[in-house]
Symmetry: C2
Amino acid sequence: MSYISARNLRFILHEVLDLDSIRQFERFQDFDQEAIDFSLDAAQQLADQYLHPVYQEMDKNKAYFQDGEVHVLPEVGEGMRAMGEAGWLSANWDYEHNGQQMPLTVHNAGGLIFQAANGNLAAYGFLTTGAANLIREFGSDTLKDIYLKPMAEGRWQGTMALTEPQAGSSLSDITSTYEEQADGTYLIHGQKIYISGGDHTAVDNVVHLLLARKKGGPKGTKGVSLFVVPKHVPEGDDLTDNNVTTAGIYGKMGQKGYVAAHLMYGEQGPTRGFLVGQEFSGLKHMFLMMNEARIGTGMMAAGSASAAYYASLKYANERPQGRHPGNKDINAPQVTIIEHADVRRMLFFQKAVVEGSIHLLLQCSLYEDHYRANGDERSHLLLELLTPIAKSFPAEYGNEAVSIGMQVLGGAGYTDDFPLEQIFRDIRVNSIYEGTTTIHGLDLLGRKVMMQNGQAVRYLKEEMLAAIKAASAQPAIAELATALGKSLQGLQEVMAQLLQLAREEDPKVFLADATVFLDYFGLHVIAWSWLQQATVATRALESAMTVGKDPLGEEDQRFYQSKVQTARYFFTYVFSRTAGLRRTLLAQERITLDTEAALLV
Amino acid sequence: MSYISARNLRFILHEVLDLDSIRQFERFQDFDQEAIDFSLDAAQQLADQYLHPVYQEMDKNKAYFQDGEVHVLPEVGEGMRAMGEAGWLSANWDYEHNGQQMPLTVHNAGGLIFQAANGNLAAYGFLTTGAANLIREFGSDTLKDIYLKPMAEGRWQGTMALTEPQAGSSLSDITSTYEEQADGTYLIHGQKIYISGGDHTAVDNVVHLLLARKKGGPKGTKGVSLFVVPKHVPEGDDLTDNNVTTAGIYGKMGQKGYVAAHLMYGEQGPTRGFLVGQEFSGLKHMFLMMNEARIGTGMMAAGSASAAYYASLKYANERPQGRHPGNKDINAPQVTIIEHADVRRMLFFQKAVVEGSIHLLLQCSLYEDHYRANGDERSHLLLELLTPIAKSFPAEYGNEAVSIGMQVLGGAGYTDDFPLEQIFRDIRVNSIYEGTTTIHGLDLLGRKVMMQNGQAVRYLKEEMLAAIKAASAQPAIAELATALGKSLQGLQEVMAQLLQLAREEDPKVFLADATVFLDYFGLHVIAWSWLQQATVATRALESAMTVGKDPLGEEDQRFYQSKVQTARYFFTYVFSRTAGLRRTLLAQERITLDTEAALLV
């Protein structure tokens, strides 16, 4: 594949995460290594056939709004149905819901392939799965009977209808209303903006999972409930128009084939909604989907960054340019640019971000598998703690990685002769989707670090110390283990200072630099990832040298060496940033708090 | 102005740079403060009338290639001629060439206004000035007589025709050729790519300043000469076609209204060129323009970042969203987002980058004014040393600042309802133009730091120590002075290690991390800028409190306080990055050198 490394996915799943252990759960017992690899091969073939070929086309022939309808390429529908028919939109569902009981970890590994091949098409499917999951989890049997099948087949689009013009990230301020009708359905009224997949011609129906407030009910998040609001209400074999009107779509910098709509409900006539789960539990229910969507956003970013990395790598291996400094022989042929140290620095950055992100995302998925399989609290807390990082690190560092990937190509990277410029535009939105990076900083520091008295952080520290111990036993990478161990003490110090502020002052004081803390904390998490990857790789290299063992093939040898070098790179060139972030976090300045708005001129 | 602060330009010019001192030179004696402010006001009016209104339009109606011609909006030509007629394209030329003998510092302050208003239109003019400067400096009287006037009037476009498909940044590998003809003109043959302003319908002629190699002459840069190659050869009042053919233009991520062309010379018939300056001195002559163009690229980036800052600031002051953490009262009105500490952190970042960049660019311009006025060697060396930073810092940190500026707007920033997304696409190319950031790292560390045995660095250090001394006398900012002083010792240590490598090993070893060094060094330069700005501001605040002095107006008070707070911000949130960069530079790892290309998989 030219957009993601299958070898790397297998390495993470089988060698780093030891996914085979998941067969301890009856639900997953069929998923041995062979079955997993077979699934990923199938995902790759599907992505090669339906998704990757239209990545650039979806940008060049962007979605448009005409005569009240949003038009997208027919290939979007074909791709969705192909993913649906192959079972990818419902793979982790129970057999009783026509799922395959696939571990989420495998499902998400497949999802990463789709995201890297064409995140804009994959997103339509991914969002549909997320919306259907809410119905499957909290919906009545009637709702499940009606909606799950066509959504799983990719014939109906699902959406998350949260954002409103006046509220943005502030969900307690939403003003869309509902009123119960005599027949037990609800009348929905209001507007939603930036609704991804909100309306388009490639599907037969659109199913909005929508938050609304009871008319005259309590203010804040308390009065909010969750509804299924279909574009067309299914009645028997018919689809009846439900007065969900598209006011327009947004002109976006990227993801131009992935529509974001402005929708109106109940303005042109009555719009009916169907309650999902408990009344007034809307936000709680929605959080299930939001957590998934956050991991999904991280996946979209990691997929984009992956596609960019392989495009840059290909160019760097093919493009001759210049000679080494010191070689003044103008008759010498030019070298390919990968020979230049600075080009390698850039490629390593891309690789370190991509493979660190993929590991973290699949690690989170595995925690979720464990939690769902047996309610394991440790896994649950680790997942909760790591979710803001799994969303934000791939987004923020992915932006930087793709920008650096464009830089590898020089002027060519800025033109649409190469995919970098589109990926650069596309990936940028992931720092905004599903809560901006600011929101995730507040989530990490204000909620996750604090929850259960810091229990999640203690669990993570245990995991990190175990990884440090394992790496310390490998002389080739022991110094990386030492570096992480030392930096954990710095992290501890920073957290102690922040927690003291949390106790002594208004919450806004300790949260003022939450985004900086997110970055700082996230780098430790990715360092933990690279330490684990390097440990596994070092062991593989070592074990192959043991007498009586088969030597590694050249390709495997290179693969593992590459992992070790990338880990060294990450610590030297990226993890080093923690020094400055720590300095910022420990500074007793309160510039951003104390400067009044009028001083920003 | 909504895209740049006139107050800040006046502050930098009059208060920080003390530009009045330039009147010591007879050439500049008319440029007192009043004359300068008058010029800048005029620039603003022109920018408001001709440039700013078509910024988005030039993106939405991009340049296109049809029937052999490149079409741009007619407003491009109107804007160029307006700048020309007002004298801006030749303002710093001698009176004898119809210039105004304007100090470059003032000229570039005006240029910053144009770049912030609409860099894509300003660039056409800026490039024309640069090309004309080469003719003015090295051309024969005949060339001057023919070309300077129509170029200064914005009726003819100038270009820099260097890059070739196989050579990119490696100018020693260019293959376009020239052959002398009996009449003393030259036949030009070859291709040039990515030629900005290379061809378009808004002007009557295009004048390429082109590098070519003597047919059969020496290889490398030695065989290269500089030519004027017009699209149409002026003969009397006629313009005769010169067989410069446009093969096409590039589809670019941004700057869509600013054409980049692929040109062919001598393919459809003979193309005539006119030698500029000495034969075989082409590269040396071209460097004059390249140095200007590098400062110009920094200006373009700083201008874009400035426009983004004021757009973000406006949004942050208007958009209500959420409440302070800790305020759980859902009946409380939402606050404007500028009230959130993290939004202020983002806005401060933008401001610190914009105003630090502007100061550095104008400081460089002032060094050039001094050097040109009396050949001052110190100014010359400082200019040479700072040029790679004046080009790269605004580009690299400008990219980040605009991205952060988009983040301030959240989802709205990603849509084309606001200018951020265009600025984000537009500014990105400045890290590529006129030598990628990699090239400037090599230039800084491999040439500039080394030149004259480190004399330029010693001069800069003297300047920095003087600024530290002045700031130390102000208790309010003394700690910033201490921080810079301390960090200079770290810089010294890093340089000592690099210079030792330079002496002992192959050049590629000490240059391997030149880009990291550029970042590290550049942050010290911008810290020096903020220290100076804070010193002036602190003195102004202090002096106004002296008995018998007029108190400052509210606006001035805020302006100076804002400067001091931004300086504090810069040191706490941005300059802190030097800690990690230093760690990377001092690491004895040689990952990017030692990893063979095949390990990047």
